[in-house]
């Protein structure tokens, strides 16, 4: 399903009581099945934009055209699991009709098959993140929203989860929004990269990547990154 976003303005009041503009003229279009990656400095309003897109924040000017009834799977910055439910129950709660075979495969892809009966409090952050990813995919979403899913993981762990996410995104047609401040994530996962400005945030450049995800070897990734730095965008 296609997603069209044009946010003319989003104001917010900070703790000190000052009105500030978080987003201004933030426009983009994602076609069905595309992975859009949003790269920008931290604090530029990426999460604010995501909250508007998924409908958590109705207080903005502009328009988000998201087909009604579209299923959303979201991975928040913090895992946001229910501590009082096991890993299995956490996933099943959002996807009550998921069949066992598909869930088992999902857990296996993410390396969670031994942790299904654990409570989230017993998991490391990396594992909890993977459970959050499993939960988002379990609903078979039309839209997948990933808010810095790899932040504060060590490099090896981040690389592994990045590959797992790539596998899952390619396993079905899902329009994906991924927010990150890491160019490596962007070039490895994205079909279309959006580079964002400082506050008030808007898209300053849009770069499509045509090489399919599966064919992006180390050389290809280096080439894409070189191209980006020619556009002087990669140093954001």
């Amino acid at each position: 399903m296609q997603l069209e976003v044009s946010i003319t303005s989003k104001m917010y009041t900070n703790a000190a009581g000052n009105r500030q503009q978080a987003l201004a003229g933030f426009n983009f279009v994602l076609s069905e099945g595309e992975v859009g990656v949003f790269v920008g400095p931290s604090g530029c309003g990426k999460s604010t934009m995501l909250r508007i897109v998924v409908g958590l924040d109705p207080d903005y000017e502009g328009r988000v055209s998201r087909p009604p009834g579209a299923k959303i799977g979201m991975v928040f910055q913090e895992p946001r699991l229910l501590p009082w439910r096991s890993v299995d129950e956490n996933v099943r709660l959002v996807a009550p009709h998921a069949d066992e075979k598909r869930l088992a495969m999902l857990f296996e892809t993410l390396g969670l098959e031994d942790h299904r009966s654990h409570f989230p409090g017993e998991l490391s952050l990396g594992l909890a993140r993977r459970v959050a990813v499993a939960r988002a995919f379990a609903v078979e979403p039309d839209f997948l929203i990933l808010d810095e899913p790899l932040a504060s993981l060590d490099d090896a762990l981040a690389a592994r989860l990045r590959e797992q996410i790539a596998t899952l995104v390619d396993s079905r047609t899902v329009t994906t929004l991924l927010v990150t401040h890491n160019v490596d994530d962007a070039v490895q996962l994205g079909d279309r990269l959006f580079f964002l400005s400082q506050r008030p945030s808007h898209v300053i450049a849009e770069v499509p990547i045509h090489t399919p995800r599966a064919q992006r070897g180390p050389d290809e990734l280096k080439r894409i990154k070189a191209e980006l730095s020619r556009l002087t965008l990669a140093n954001l």
Binding site: G55, R80, L82, W84, F119, G121
Partner: protein, 245 residues
């Protein structure tokens, strides 16, 4: 084992005190036990305990249900909080005796009056505890439930209720002990049966063994319900928490 030891120490102290104070003021354990046996054989003991227990159960369930609902509402809706707060403070500070006496005057010396009076005494503490609990609800989890479009009732059961469970347990705990205390006063003042009524009779006759017989069996009943019912439920509700060292 430790509990047994503690109980033995209690008996020994009682016996010693009885020896010092004399049978007139504090009868020794065997005398009280004899009184318990007489009452049990006639069936009066079980009848009065049962009546009191029924009142406790009814008033407790009534107060908890109403209190939890009101507390949740006041924690969630600002307007409800501001409207309800003065009433809450009034009820919270109204002496139990006033509520009981007024209930008997307005509704007559009836069962309804007694149970309502007990429930009203417990209600405000339940409301306050649940309101505090509702205020601590995690907005992040609410957002998660909204994004994943978890149906309202399911979200309440799996997301909200577990967060409130410790507060419900706390309200139940403190509420139960309050109800135990107040039910006897309500019975003493306006009911023709129940443990409170029997204690009133024993007081008027200065029958100390009878008084202690009812008090202690009542205390034993409270203890049994605590250990057999309240504690296991609490343990089950908090099984996901890491064990405290």
């Amino acid at each position: 084992m430790l509990r047994l030891l503690s109980f033995a120490a209690f008996l020994a102290t009682w016996w010693g005190a009885a020896f010092l104070a004399g049978d007139q003021k504090l009868p020794a354990p065997p005398v009280v036990l004899a009184a318990v046996m007489t009452e049990a054989r006639s069936g009066a003991l079980f009848f009065h305990l049962g009546v009191t227990l029924a009142r406790v159960g009814l008033a407790f369930v009534l107060a908890m249900t109403l209190g939890a609902a009101l507390g949740y509402l006041m924690g969630r809706v600002r307007l409800a909080d501001r409207l309800g707060d003065p009433w809450l403070i009034l009820l919270l500070h109204l002496p139990a005796l006033v509520v009981i006496v007024l209930a008997y005057i307005w509704a007559g010396l009836t069962e309804v009056a007694a149970i309502a009076a007990i429930a009203i005494n417990k209600l405000p503490t339940a409301v306050v505890t649940l309101r505090e609990g509702t205020r601590t609800l995690d907005a992040n989890l609410d957002e998660m439930a909204a994004v994943f479009a978890i149906p309202r009732w399911k979200a309440f059961r799996h997301v909200i209720l577990p967060q409130l469970a410790p507060y419900i347990a706390a309200a139940a705990r403190s509420g139960l002990s309050l109800v135990w205390k107040i039910v006897l006063v309500a019975e003493l003042l306006g009911r023709p049966n129940g443990v409170g009524f029997e204690i009133g009779v024993a007081f008027q006759l200065f029958d100390i063994p009878l008084l202690l017989a009812y008090s202690l069996t009542f205390a034993a009943l409270v203890l049994t319900i605590e250990t057999a019912l309240v504690q296991p439920i609490e343990a089950r509700l908090s099984r996901w928490r890491r064990r405290a060292a």
